[in-house]
Symmetry: D2
């Protein structure tokens, strides 16, 4: 079986948009992370980096898996006790961060430290996902944070 | 919400047994990895290390998530193209290894290199899971390999 | 050769003290990270966790390697271009964070995200190391941040 | 300070050649890892991938740091107990694998599992480094293994 690059990319972009997240929102987090260090950086550079990151297969695979785990929890298809752990987004879960770190590590240690910061700071669209009371976003907010962190690391390398 | 330690442990042990995997099978892989270096090591030491590893929360969480993704794929509840990618266990997926590495890294770099070896060598019960044509075991074989690798690292540290 | 646990521990504690860093300073960073979430947490709990972390062999090994690389750079014993890269602590180096992440990952994804945050936020003694103009602290500040992050993850797990 | 890309690349290639390691030797390990899965793969493809990997900054930085730690240990410039731990390449050290994993993780989970396998299997030039009684190669063999594993992952992605 050949890897379905186009379908995987479309799946992730579509599912994120259903959650109210657009690649432009992620580009804004990237700009927030790197703009102060790179005076020539534009929002368009950040968006290009996000699009580039979201085309990587391992990014797509971890993103799809996390997004599906959120959806399946929301729809009551995950067994206990995992369902309650995900629904409550409890602090010692860590699997959401595991998938996110697998994304950010592809962009080296800057990617990984960026993700750790974003995970605590929760700016922009990540905060909106994290505080949404109607939808299970346990994995989604980390996936979005990891994509932003990876794109920020890419932008930092490209501009130095 | 308090973390449900006992239910999570029971879930993982029960689900593995439904797949034909017992903690004793994992202990045998541990013995195969470390027995040659540690002449005093017994199968009982290996089983104790496996039981110890499977009580760690982050091990349980990654194991539950992987086991559920296999089950949900088997039952046709995962959307495309992720369903086909998991069903075909294609080489460039990587999310199964991401969850497994998150387990083995808890036991340091020995845990991680052990897992890389086990993932290629596929001895014992891992081979049985990997070649089962009737069941989706894309995540399960990696989870089992990671638990074995983590327990092998624990045994190596405790005996040196 | 048997692993020299006691000498390694003494080496790290002594070298940190020569840099003006005491385990109590690290305990304060731990309290800063976790105190707001864990109302019963005391500074003494944090110090106990730090001492516990600093006894782990893989922590000691990565710490000694980083501390020696700083000292050898300071003393002019590292070859170019690595010497200048370390002396200038340039943003795209990443090896300092690699050693630090190897420490924090032993405490799971909470350890790793904590470290990413601390690496940007640079509170307390880390800031003092980072802004010292007379000494090469490229690795030291990350080692200290990683020990604090690992201890914070330990405290979070133990109290939940 | 601008990152010295050319000097760093030259440093690594020159130091490896002093240890008797040429990029062609690494390309052969890559072919050994991937040739059986990719019938159209040539040694030239493998060499191209190795050259590409060795141009990445984070690869160069971790490689330079590991190679210098070996040299400094050989020349008696590292303090005890770290000197003896490195000289004896003791199994529970792990810092050599930490630097190597930081390289292989840049190429995703295939890179990392490849490295774990290579680290145990020790084929080709890695075996020669590992069994050299006159030179300290504690970090060097892992750096070479990680570069080979990263290049193998790159080749696997490019050909699938």
């Amino acid at each position: 079986m050949k890897y379905p690059d186009t379908e995987a990319y479309k799946f992730v972009v579509k599912r994120l948009s259903e959650l109210g997240v657009y690649l432009d929102d992620i580009a804004e987090i990237v700009y927030g992370l790197e703009g102060k260090y790179l005076p020539k950086l534009t929002i368009q550079d950040c968006l290009n980096a996000v699009v580039n990151v979201v085309h990587k297969r391992e990014v797509l695979n971890n993103a799809m898996s996390g997004l599906e785990l959120d959806r399946l929890t929301q729809e009551g298809l995950i067994k206990e006790p995992l369902a309650s752990i995900i629904k409550n987004d409890i602090g010692v879960f860590g699997t959401d961060e595991s998938l996110a770190l697998a994304i950010s590590q592809l962009y080296g240690s800057i990617g990984t430290t960026n993700y750790g910061y974003v995970d605590k700071d929760k700016t922009g669209i990540i905060n909106k996902l994290d505080t949404d009371d109607y939808q299970v976003n346990t994995f989604s907010d980390d996936i979005v944070g990891a994509i932003a962190s990876a794109a920020a690391a890419k932008v930092a390398h490209d501009h130095s």
